[in-house]
């Protein structure tokens, strides 16, 4: 095992010293994931970085309409009814929805008394970060409303008039109570007292947000373009690693280092195992890098476990391909030429270049002969297709089987060579 690890470390060290190989193994998959993801529409949260929300204005007053207009600065709002809004969130078409509840407009005209204005916010509980951001932005706009009341004399006057007006119609005993209250208030404000955090004043907020969980139904469609380009990037990473290590094994043969290794007290299995280990680890490394980037672009797998199973299965498949390339290639040039000649159509029909769902049906069907297609399907199954164990079993079994068969053929070809 020590020798296998030494072989793998040597190969990875050599890889990291070759700029061309670094580009095709690490940089190109990142370009595919990020640039193509941005080109295909990003994370669906608005072109200017605004969060997409559905708006349900159940209050439908000047106050609610003014608030809705104000928050358009921060959100891309689409008016809907409640059922459509919930559905849009469940399908991932909107990040969330907000409901301006009845009484919102009246509450907007009060300050420090009565019920604050209330918003119902429906978001997928998995999107905690977005939920926090939405709440923060809503509170910011509510605070700006208060500031507007303080700084705009007309608005303040209107608020006082409204309070006085409400007192006119009050029964005499309530007027007396208010007067008593004002007297006590005067005495209170003249006597400085420590403010309790639990006092009603401390709890009063300009906006009450009632959160509601609307779990997304993760199947059928990707949430954003990065959920399409992330699996594509992974595929290019797999291809890059496969080519790099396959050709490096051919180089070992043509340059004589393979003979030197064979003369050493290590078995053929250890030598090939070391190469396979280096390829496998590099593939996993590329996948982790790509996933980290994809995460930052809003990709949220439906199942981490399924995604890991898919990525490992795809890695096994391409390690097998690597061995086949190494076994069949007599020189670096023939190995690279033959591998690209086979891989390009497989990648094309498999969806690594163009998403399969935009292909005509016959091309989609043809794609199933390509292991690339099964790798894409498995990874998508973990990212947005929400595959069950049974659904994931087929692509993973195919990938592992292809990998094992290719590995066996490759090692046999190497032995004969």
């Amino acid at each position: 095992m020590k020798q296998m690890i030494a072989l793998a470390v040597k190969d990875m060290r050599i890889l990291l010293r070759n700029k061309g190989r670094i580009f095709f193994t690490f940089i190109w998959p990142i370009i595919v994931t990020v640039l193509f993801g941005l080109a295909f529409g990003g994370n669906n949260d608005g072109a200017q970085g605004k969060v997409k929300l559905a708006l349900i204005d159940e209050d439908n007053t000047d106050g609610s309409r003014a608030f809705a207009k104000a928050i358009e600065e921060s959100f891309e709002l689409t008016p809907m009814n409640r059922a459509d809004a919930e559905n849009a969130v469940r399908r991932g078409q909107r990040t969330g929805y907000i409901v301006l509840t009845p009484g919102f407009g009246i509450a907007s005209e009060r300050m420090f008394y009565g019920q604050p204005k209330e918003i119902e916010l429906g978001v997928d509980p998995a999107r905690r970060a977005e939920k926090g951001m939405i709440e923060g932005l809503l509170l910011k706009h509510a605070s700006e409303d208060m500031q507007h009341l303080f700084t705009d004399p007309n608005a303040s006057s209107k608020m006082v008039d409204k309070a006085l007006g409400e007192m006119k119609d009050a029964p005499p005993d309530q007027v007396a109570s208010v007067q008593k209250f004002l007297g006590e208030l005067k005495a209170f404000v003249n006597t400085p007292q420590p403010q309790s955090a639990a006092s009603p004043q401390a709890q009063w907020q300009p906006l009450k947000i009632v959160a509601k969980d609307v779990s997304r139904q993760r199947s059928g469609e990707p949430d954003n373009a990065f959920e399409i380009t992330f699996p594509q990037g992974v595929i290019w990473g797999l291809i890059g690693c496969m080519m790099t290590f396959g050709i490096s094994l051919v180089s070992e043969r043509t340059r004589g280092t393979f003979v030197r290794l064979r003369i050493a007290p290590v078995t053929r299995a250890q030598i090939l195992g070391g190469k396979a280990l280096a390829c496998f680890v590099s593939i996993l490394f590329v996948q982790v890098i790509l996933f980290t980037i994809a995460w930052n672009f809003g990709v949220r797998p439906t199942s981490f476990v399924m995604l890991i199973v898919a990525c490992v299965s795809a890695a096994i498949c391409f390690v097998g391909f690597m061995m086949l390339v190494a076994g069949l290639g007599r020189t670096e040039e023939t190995a690279a030429g033959a591998a690209w000649a086979v891989l390009m159509p497989l990648a094309m029909f498999g969806g690594a270049m163009v998403p399969t769902f935009v292909m005509p049906q016959w091309m989609q069907s043809l794609g199933y002969i390509s292991p690339v297609r099964w790798a894409m399907l498995a990874i998508e199954g973990g990212v947005w297709r929400n595959f069950s164990v049974a659904e994931m079993a087929l692509p993973c079994a195919i990938l592992i089987s292809v990998g094992v068969v290719c590995f066996a053929f490759g090692t046999r070809a190497l032995k004969e060579a």
């Binding site: 060290r13 070759n18 004589g256 007290p265």
Partner: protein, 294 residues
């Protein structure tokens, strides 16, 4: 032809090939080769292109299995066994090095392949670099080395695990005189340390300088084996006498040059004469022929 196989006890020999035969399709690469290498000697392996030298080396280190016959290394019948390979070091003709690794990293890696680690590995790497004169350039990538430096590193990689049997396959191909001299000195030092060396070469002067015994093979068969003087005596033929008389130069191959000289002097005046002893190259060409090999 004398019986060239020296029978057991094998312990006097580090390597013995006995009636070894190897074919590739219809091509017979090694045809009943029998050869023994004594402990501590340098055995030169000479032969034209396609003679079967590389196949013989591959058979000797267990890279190829013979179709018939046996290979015995230090009393062990299976050269592919790890404990047997631990005793063998090979410097292939192709520069079997990683260009993207430094000289030190190359040696460290090959040392790890032989199970070395820690202080022992450090010590061996340091010794090998010093031995081939690459200590100052140990941190440079091997890809940036000159041809001679690469050859020296190739030799160092064969020595990293301190083997007792060394197979050097044309170790001076394409190197400058300085590096060649350094390699010669290194090989002579290894010889003095008591290591057994099989030295494959096309350069006759190298075999004459370095080798205790020389084996000439062609078409997979051993044609001659012995010390330089034994080969010259057995296959070199009589010396060449060159006599200049009356402005004319006459060359005569004779086993009795003095008698021939006296005979010539009795009939005419000798202006000058010179005697040329047979060379290894003449022996080689006499045994393997003058036809071109591709």
């Amino acid at each position: 032809m004398p019986n060239l196989l020296i029978e057991p006890p094998y312990r006097t020999y580090v390597l013995t090939l006995r009636d070894v035969r190897k074919t590739f399709g219809k091509t017979v690469a090694v045809d009943g080769l029998s050869l023994s290498v004594r402990k501590g000697e340098i055995l030169g392996l000479l032969g034209p292109n396609g003679a079967g030298k590389s196949t013989s080396v591959s058979l000797s280190v267990g890279l190829l299995a013979p179709d018939a016959g046996s290979v015995v290394i230090d009393g062990n019948l299976d050269p592919a066994k790890p404990e047997v390979r631990q005793k063998i070091g090979v410097a292939p003709q192709a520069l079997a090095l990683y260009d993207a690794l430094s000289g030190e990293e190359n040696l460290r890696f090959f040392g790890e392949m032989y199970g070395l680690s820690g202080a022992v590995l450090d010590q061996r790497v340091t010794w090998c670099l010093e031995f081939v004169g690459l200590t100052d350039r140990k941190k440079d990538l091997a890809g940036g080395y000159s041809g001679g430096m690469k050859r020296r590193l190739n030799l160092a990689a064969a020595l990293i695990h301190d083997p007792q049997l060394l197979l050097l396959d044309e170790p001076t191909v394409g190197v400058d005189p300085q590096s060649r001299n350094k390699i010669f000195e290194s090989i002579e030092e290894l010889h003095q340390q008591g290591r057994t060396i099989i030295y494959t070469t096309h350069y006759m002067e190298e075999a004459e300088r370095l080798c205790d015994r020389i084996a000439i093979i062609d078409a997979g068969k051993l044609l001659a084996l012995g010390t330089l003087s034994e080969l010259l005596a057995a296959h070199g033929g009589p010396p060449m006498l060159m006599v200049k008389t009356n402005g004319e130069e006459r060359r005569t191959q004779t086993a009795d040059p003095l008698g021939e000289l006296n005979r010539v002097a009795a009939t005419t005046t000798i202006e000058a004469f010179q005697m040329e002893k047979p060379t290894l190259e003449q022996v080689f060409l006499r045994l393997t022929g003058r036809s071109l090999r591709d």
